[in-house]
Assembly symmetry: C2
Homo-oligomer: 246 residues x 2
């Protein structure tokens, strides 16, 4: 376990997300998953099924963070170009991989294993495979880039497999405090004071509309449990005082 | 109406999305909205509440696309730093804006209008305001950047306001064809042929898990209705032929 934060980015690949056809849920799932194991998701991007765009995003993000998780674009159709793009980003050759082909043969007969399906065995040279329990076509892990499927159930099973091998940091601790119907503007100045005083505790205030009107939550996050508890106590006292004035 | 495509990017600002606390739904909403009015969403990014990160993303995206839509970070609390970051990205001063202050006064009494709430009237010099029908604190429009709230209901009302003023392109037309339980690998090669033949028609194949198992959809998108219909006809014939073989 590392004491310095382990950082990560997500790259979602797919026209269907940008055209509004599909709501991306993978980023949220990965964000939660990484949070649980102590990795900080620092950035996410969504790009189209366009090789140059994927290459540029992969190179920008893999150079900046400990891990880059991609989702989408590893199926058998012509719009599935992630493996090729990642190979190009690394300047590596891509070839049919015997291990990947063996995985596909668990599902497909020789007759079924047409050129389109065989494309799913094309893997950048040197990558580790990430098994796909659901539909066999694997993802892969190359350098610090983990390439996963876009179908949420498959992506989730791949993430479970790689999760055990990730270098993880100290887990981020979270305290959520209900501010209820108290308007953000009533506590913003005091909250800023508390945030300024408790370095290393990140404090956010999040409004949402409910059937009862606007409701606010204050969320405190830190890897230092003692400071987190102290800051949370201050926030709870602040909220109590405001309520007592009403 | 422009005959060349009008492009856009979305920048979602907020720790709460990256920590997994909140599922971003704004990107999907904006993607659909832009699709309807003929603007191509080409990229989306999610960054933390960090000024340098916001400045870098705003500058990268505003220089590359016709429009940049940001969501989040314009409330009264200390973690709301979007207006300052956008001003810095443009190298512009940010000041209390008399028009914005007047909007806030529609909601808040002089006593309620404390320094935290007054912060919401700080707007980069030269920006147009985007009214907020729900909670008054405005967004703004500066150059080609449109800064909106993160709360979905407020963002949606702001988008409705600005939507009428956007330069729009020819609307993208879409045909969705159900491939049902036919595996992608069975039609991938023929589909690639069709995609190659119909330049200007983008074709995607999208699997999803349902209670009945894997189901596939083929989606064709083009601004040329005639070519779209021709390509869709080819895809429908292809699917019928595969079904007739079963």
């Amino acid at each position: 376990m590392q004491s310095t934060p382990i950082t990560a980015a997500v790259l979602v690949i797919g026209d269907e997300i940008l055209s509004g056809r599909t709501q991306d849920t993978n980023t949220h799932y990965i964000a939660n998953y990484l949070h649980q194991i102590g990795i900080d998701l620092c950035e996410a991007r969504i790009v189209a099924d366009d090789e140059a765009e994927i290459v540029a995003a992969v190179n920008a993000l893999r150079q900046r963070y400990h891990y880059l998780f991609t989702t989408g674009g590893i199926g058998p159709t012509h719009d599935d170009i992630t493996a090729d793009a990642v190979a190009r980003a690394f300047g590596l050759e891509i070839k049919e991989d015997a291990r990947a082909l063996a995985m596909l043969r668990e599902r497909f007969s020789e007759m079924e294993l047409n050129p389109a399906r065989r494309r799913m065995a094309r893997i950048p040279v040197g990558a580790e495979l990430v098994p796909n329990a659901l539909s066999k076509a694997p993802g892969f892990w190359l350098g610090n880039v983990i390439v996963m499927a876009g179908v949420p159930a498959i992506m989730q099973s791949m993430l479970d497999t790689v999760g055990q091998k990730l270098e993880v940091g100290v887990q981020m601790l979270v305290e959520t405090i209900q501010a209820g119907a108290i308007a953000e503007g009533r506590y913003a100045m005091q909250l800023e004071e508390i945030a300024r005083h408790y370095d290393g505790v990140s404090i956010g205030s999040y409004p949402s509309f409910t059937s009862q009107g606007m409701r606010n939550q204050i969320v405190l996050r830190s890897r230092d449990s003692e400071r987190l508890e102290q800051a949370a106590l201050q926030v709870r006292q602040m909220i109590s005082e405001i309520i007592s004035l009403d």
